[in-house]
Amino acid sequence: MIRKSWWKTLTAVLLVYTFIAGFLIKVPHVGNLYGSIRNFFFHVPMWFGMMVLYTVSVVYAIKYLRNPTITSDIYSKEYAKAGTVFGVLGLVTGALWANYTWGEAWSNDPKQILAAIALLIYAAYFILRNSVPDLDKRAKLGAVYNVFAFAMLFPTLWIIPRMVESLHPGGQGVEGNPGMGGGKDLDATMRIVFWPAVIGWTLLGVWITTLRVRFEHLKEKQLVNAQL
């Protein structure tokens, strides 16, 4: 799939559509969020993208543990990196949004805190990798920690935030699903931009990762040739 170009075109088309429609479409009246709801097309897809990229990363980590190859290790590391970039962007877009809606960029909302913690868990993954000089050992330790970190994402991002009070939709005493914009279901006009945006941003993450993977492969090859 990497070598084919149709999905790259699709990414570009979807993202152009997200920007044009996202800024021009008539959004529904949603109370005090009306002025800032368009950020929904940028903030929420970041978290979708992060989750997808981390999931791919853990799949490659498991693949590495079953059959150790340098390729799976590179994939696992690069997908985790791209996921972390998406997570940081999610926090930043969220902080911008919060600045206008809640009055301050960081209000110690449980979902903000736990998302930051999730990113710290993955930051520790990169530190662990860098602290091991031996290549095989690094890959193995990284893969083991990656699986552990991914399992820890569930209580951190999916369970605990839903149990406590939050300014975000979804939480104790708050209706709705945090990924679906509050209410029971996403508004129909929002939906026709939102889902393409999710797919577009996620594909962009995959695209960036495949470029990084090719770059890493090239570096690997150079290293091998230099040793010979």
């Binding site: 868990i121 520790a124 602290s131 193995k140 893969a143």
Partner: protein, 219 residues
Amino acid sequence: MNSFKTIIALLKKDVLLEIRQQYSFYGVLLYVISTIFVLYLAMGQPEDDVWNGLFWMIQLFVCVNAVAKSFLQESKGRMLYFYSVAGPVDFILSKLLFNALLMLVMSIMSLLLFLVLMGNPLRQPFQFVGLATLGGVSLSLVFTFLAAIASKAQQQAALMAILGFPIIIPQLLLLMKIATIAFSSVIQAGLGQMVLLLIGLDAMVIVLAIILFPFLWKD
């Protein structure tokens, strides 16, 4: 049955080593006493939520210190010996059990010291004792597994703290939230759910340790 015997034997060896050398037990105990004493000098007798927060932070640091030794003390030669006599699952289970036991003792010790030095704001002491032991065991499980990972890398002790602190925060937040019940006479709603979540987390950590440790074992 055989693996059960191996686990018991390994556990017995750790306990015996502890009793004979007494180095790490008293070392950690001294750490607990001096930290809490310094806290007492600095804070006197703090308010409820400060007391609660300090208690769990102390638990965290005690746990890092107590558990770090379990893998770091094993030399390469000795690990090779264990490799030839026991399976990876037996080994990690014995370590998990031993550290849980150690943290159980340490949690109760530090709780007693807290009650003596920092005052007793607890309205429901028995629930808090139960929670402190459960919390100590939960912390020890996570850090045992992280110690196993860190022991394979360089700068082991520092790395363990770096890996552990982000991972432990959700659990610690949960513990602090549950612990607030011990400070009021009203029982909160959703308490059972949170305790169940904590136990579920522990179960997940144990299962992950059993699945993942064999990969760390072969070197």
